[in-house]
Amino acid sequence: MNEVTAGQVPAVAMRSITKRFPGVLANDAVDFEASQGEVHALLGENGAGKSTLASILTGLYRPDSGQIAIDGRRVEFHSPKDAMAAGVSMVHQHFRLAASLTVSDNIVLGDRRAGWLRTSARTIDTTVEELAKRYRMPVDPRARIWQLSVGEQQRVEILKALYRGARILILDEPTSLLTPQEADDLFVTLRRMTDEGRTVVFVSHKLDELMAVSDRVTVLRGGRSIGTVVTRESSPAELARMMIGREVMFAQTKKAQDLSRAKVVLELLGVNANGDLGIRALNGVSLSVRDGEIVGVAGVSGNGQRQLAEVISGTRPRTSGDVLLAGQKLRNADAEEAIEKGVAHVPEDRMGTGVAPSLSIADNLILKSHKRPPISRLGILRRGLALANARDLMKRFAVAAPDPETPTRLLSGGNVQKVVLARELSSQPVMIVAANPTRGLDVGATESVRALLIEAASRGVGILLISEDLDEILVLADRIAVIYEGRIVGVIPRAGADVQHIGLMMAGSS
């Protein structure tokens, strides 16, 4: 670990950075500082503001107010190019690589220093090879990106930055797609870079990694900076407390119940599934939900939550394992069967998946029931019935819109969610999977959504509440499961649960 020399000009100094997006204050007068030659971690859960801060530093966003100084010089970035010119480079969580081009191609892309005629292709390959060797990140310059493993692709991203002489390297959740071995190799590389005096800003929510590799940690929560500690002098428990600690103040709460004697409505046994890029997203997940129970799945975004919801609702295939509904096995990746058997799904992407945005409210309310009586008979849709159904549901669920024929995309986020809930709840489900149901909603809408879920549970519907908002789980769930890297790392009853312990589990350290 490097000693931070007092009095040195910090490599990065961000003062009073504020950034607002519609509906959310992502960064609230945040101060951040990183010294030369150190690995400085940015810790926080979702919504804490760490990715936004990193994006501002790398020139992707411009702050509403605040200043940035690199090596003591005030800078203003209008684009990532400016940041790169100042020596700041970011390795994104989702790589920016052109899949069919070679490693060398990707590395030199956009580099004006290279000659116009690349008859020096071999020279570039050699340069890349030497660079890779120096940092002990072996990679074949002539390989095409799609041929590489994820860890190797990340190396290419890092080499891209080093090739351009990056002095400050920002890594956004770098180990989210890596194997443990690849992650270790990465840490070794980072050390080599800081030994040369470069600065690494490491954005993550994984405590054990931060403890192992960083010199200092800055914790963000709710858009604010909570504090900066020297890693060596701190502990996972302290960090978790800083990351999670809050006062919970919501009106809609559910009395935590022990429903261990109720019937099991949903059961997952050893479910494995892959994500969109073919990498394992769910790892031997076993979970159960009983009638009338709300099981909250807590975790930081990107640990398999979306894939979990999709596997249960039948929109994503499992590679192994079973999903049982009321004791009966559900067919793999059959959304139609899941719908018919009574699995309701409130997806996290309500506009992109939960509704067909250009279609009317009435149409979206029959999105899943359109194939069956009473809405349709012999292939003919009974529009009158659909409209009446829509009016009824819109009243019951207080959807604010002029009429049922209004295109759904004109509605506010809260109303869209009400449409989704109205549809899912009115189908008399036996089980609901709700993923981030109140994300982006205002207080009023949030309260109504939670009230609806509580009411459904009281009628005996089993609910799997997957939420990146720990507050929500703490007020609604009967039992709390924590998901980390595609595994369920713990299930505890809500009554008497230790928030810090949950925080540790969410951050992978327990």
């Binding site: 992707l60 966003y61 411009r62 684009s79 990532p80 190019k81 790169m84 920016r96 690589l97 052109a98 899949a99 069919s100 081009l101 191609d105 990707n106 030199v108 892309l109 956009g110 580099d111 290279a114 000659g115 116009w116 005629l117 690349r118 008859t119 292709a121 095409r144 799609w146």
Partner: protein, 321 residues
């Protein structure tokens, strides 16, 4: 009988002769598609090239080679001007590229601008005052086999070979070519690395237009040295298919173009030799083959190794900052 009169040699030479306009148009479309822009207006642009080049040849005076060079250039530029419409719509205004390209063909094609110009200037029914004739390169035109095939073609044929070489060098050996490939593959990546996506798309769509125009000029100045309404008879559409057939690689467009050229001339030649297979069977082979190739290219295995520029046909809108 002289081996140079044998069916194989004659066919090979004609394949090259008839395939050349396809090479120009296909390389042009290839460059545009590599930047991510699908231009279905190739047929229209070729016809514009044909008519303007013919007009130039009839109305400009000077030495043979000079007029032909100028005319070909004018044909290219006219087509480039027309392709600007598609570029503005597709790149600047993010319109639906398919409809825009088709509109271009209708606007400029056999019932459109090219026909209008040809009729207004009364270009029909006249023989060309200058035409591209077969050259005797290095005096080798009578060498067995290679003579008629390689050394007895017109100047544009040789120009097309130079074009393919230049395109290869450009794509794989220059920095700009690398940027082009990145733009078509992943415009977000290129953008972040400081490459101006819109500029590349505009530029290469226009270059595609120019080359299509040259291909069209070949029709009115080399194949049938006169002007007929709609004289390319679908060559533009074949060029589009050719780009896929060639897996977006310039050297393979030569192979594909000559194959198509072969099938064009096969019908006549076979009839002359009393072979009774319906010419349509041969003529349909290239199209069927393209479909087969496309199916192969679309499967996962091939998609990465051989596939289309990933961002082909989709407008690029940068996320707001």
């Amino acid at each position: 009988m002289n081996v140079n009169d044998s069916i194989v040699v004659v066919l090979a030479a004609s394949a090259i002769f008839y395939g050349t306009p396809l090479v120009f148009a296909a390389v042009g479309e290839l460059l545009a598609e590599r930047s991510g822009v699908l231009n279905l207006g190739v047929e229209g642009m070729m016809l514009i090239g044909a008519v303007t080049a013919f007009w130039s040849v009839q109305n400009l005076s000077g030495a043979d080679w000079f007029v032909l060079l100028l005319a070909t250039g004018i044909g290219g530029l006219a087509a480039l001007a027309v392709s600007l419409i598609h570029a503005v719509l597709a790149v600047g205004l993010r319109a639906n590229q398919i409809v825009s390209g088709l509109a271009l063909t209708i606007f400029a094609g056999a019932t459109g601008l090219s026909s209008y110009v040809g009729n207004v200037a009364r270009l029909g029914g006249q023989p060309a005052k200058h035409e591209f004739t077969a050259l005797n390169v290095f005096g080798l035109q009578d060498v067995p086999v290679a003579g008629p095939i390689l050394f007895h073609q017109n100047a544009l044929v040789y120009a097309s070979w130079v074009l393919v070489v230049l395109a290869l060098v450009y794509l794989y050996r220059t920095r700009t070519g690398l940027h082009l490939r990145a733009v078509g593959e992943s415009p977000e990546t290129a953008d972040v690395m400081g490459v101006n996506v819109a500029r590349y798309r505009y530029a290469h769509t226009l270059v595609g237009g120019f080359l299509a125009g040259v291909g069209g000029a070949y029709f009115s100045l080399a194949i049938t040295p006169n002007w007929i309404d709609g004289m390319t008879s679908g060559a533009g559409w074949i060029a589009i298919a050719l780009v896929i057939f060639a897996f977006w690689r310039p050297e393979l467009t030569l192979v594909g173009a000559y194959l198509f050229g072969l099938f064009s001339s096969l019908g006549f030649v076979l009839q002359a030799r009393q072979v009774h297979l319906p010419p349509e069977v041969f003529a349909s082979l290239p199209y069927v083959m393209t479909v087969v190739v496309l199916v192969v290219v679309s499967t996962g295995w091939a998609k990465q190794r051989l596939g289309a520029p990933a961002a082909l046909g989709t407008p690029y809108v940068r996320e707001e900052r």
